[in-house]
Subunit: 359 residues, 2 copies
Amino acid sequence: MRWYPVGKGNMRMDVSDLETPAVLIDCDRMERNIAVMQARCDSLGIAFRPHIKTHKIPAIARLQIQAGASGIACQKVSEAEVFADAGFDNIQLPYNIVGPQKTARLASLAGRCQISVSVDDEAVVIGLAEAAQAAGVKIEVLVELATDLLRTGTSPENAVRLARQIDSTSALHFAGVLVYPSHPANRPTLLEALDRLQRSGISVQMVSGGGTIAALSAHEVPELTELRVGTYIFNDWTTVQKSAASLDDCAMQVLATVVSRPVSERAILDCGSKTLAADQLDGQYGYILEYPQARIVKLSEEHAHVDLNNCDQRPHIGEQVHVIPVHTCVVTNLADRLFGVRGNNVEVEWQVAARGKVW
Amino acid sequence: MRWYPVGKGNMRMDVSDLETPAVLIDCDRMERNIAVMQARCDSLGIAFRPHIKTHKIPAIARLQIQAGASGIACQKVSEAEVFADAGFDNIQLPYNIVGPQKTARLASLAGRCQISVSVDDEAVVIGLAEAAQAAGVKIEVLVELATDLLRTGTSPENAVRLARQIDSTSALHFAGVLVYPSHPANRPTLLEALDRLQRSGISVQMVSGGGTIAALSAHEVPELTELRVGTYIFNDWTTVQKSAASLDDCAMQVLATVVSRPVSERAILDCGSKTLAADQLDGQYGYILEYPQARIVKLSEEHAHVDLNNCDQRPHIGEQVHVIPVHTCVVTNLADRLFGVRGNNVEVEWQVAARGKVW
């Protein structure tokens, strides 16, 4: 059942035809963002590998490839399966793939496209080796280095051990190292790892960095051979606040309706945590373009609580507003569809093909 | 494409066959939770109206109706449409339905089942009246009272005005008042509204309260004629921390795999904010049953960052753990499927039919 209008054949759909909350993508801005990041990598002479987690839509990844991207990055095997099914043939997974079911699926993918995957532990290498051997395929393996993110990743010293372990397995090939985020603060670790590998006689083909904000300082980490970046394509309130984008670079906007004005200083929008996600930045959950002094201070599942105390003009019930979300990727993951708009025209409706793919 | 095993025909599926992260529902606990809340309402002599936002699955709502529930509550029209299509004929929407498309869909629903809806403003009543008149249906309307939640809702004084406005419209019928949450702190407002309505000669058939935690003190608000409750069916870390449930009442558990152990004091699970949602309680994002001293202190989209400093025993890569989420409803909304388990047996796989319904 579809309860919203769609533009079919000769029928033109305007933004005003959409039900709210609706996740809009400004096509002009998205296309500009794609071109700018590709140009940045081109000028640095490094490969660009967009991370599809931000849009999760094969048609958009195709625009990135057409602009010059060398391949894509996916975070989970199930995302990679969606994109492999859509014809993408160079996919990197910067994630430890653990467990016999997942490694078997990864090996199966490696039988039909070029797959690279990261590891940070011996146990992960053993699992990959077993699956690759069983499937009769060869998998390219990158060693992930620990960074100031304090998430996954190993030490430069252990990277050498892992590289040796990988290359001692005929079904695996040590392809290089991976860091996230690859901003200059993490360069000393990277340099130490590269030095240790070189002194051990281990060649490194790929040095994969990542992060929308780190991309701005990629020229300060000349060891990188490629960049994995996701958020840049839509941007969000976080990239704006971190000076990695301007408001005019924000291609994603959530169209929302004011559904309640219980008191003078409060408005309630129909985009709650089921639309904007509960990610927050400095206690705020989004930025309302029409009311820059307003603050989204709390989310319920279907309500955004807006503090209007600083606003001279205040919205009325039924009014529509545009919200720049705090974190674009998680908004995409909550939406079944994104609407590509140009001006007031809804040009395309994309199904979010890899939404909810956590396996 | 299905890349996980499913039990079909004679094939029995064990929990160990599931890929992680998987959202498990302990059927024994769920059934007990259903029975206990129904018994509570029965003993108070009030109607019970489960809010489906927690499970979003018609088959589970049917269990609630079979146990004695009088109808269901949905938060958005699109959720109500899913449940009406599944045969539910008494649906309440405790939400301002705003905009011509949504009110038309609501009126259409009212033509095929018993619909009640809440309002907190004159403008919302006008929109409902127009749609009901155009569709030739009658809609039951409740006035929502403002509470200490500081979200939606109007004053007792304005409730009288809204009730008069509703009853002056032939297509609408004033059905009563609605509060959320209905804990005793909000009783004075409720009493004032009921008193003002009575003194104005306006009869009140329904006094609808709500909230899993407020349900525990429903006997202290004897004016209530029905309770709307959602979370109680699965419970979560929040209801446990607020003493509304014990750990043994938590029917929802997220089965997750340890995918990285980068340093001794940190583990990374494969359930990030795309699985657990970013809702947090006191800086934590879930409770790990096997490691009660561990703390989930941060989520990335596909990573749960676990602080193991207080743990004597620590998990290894590949180990599976069970996580009680902070907020069960938003976990359901991220999952395509929930797995109903009894012991180690996966008894049923439910599609989350009303997942992502924000319209």
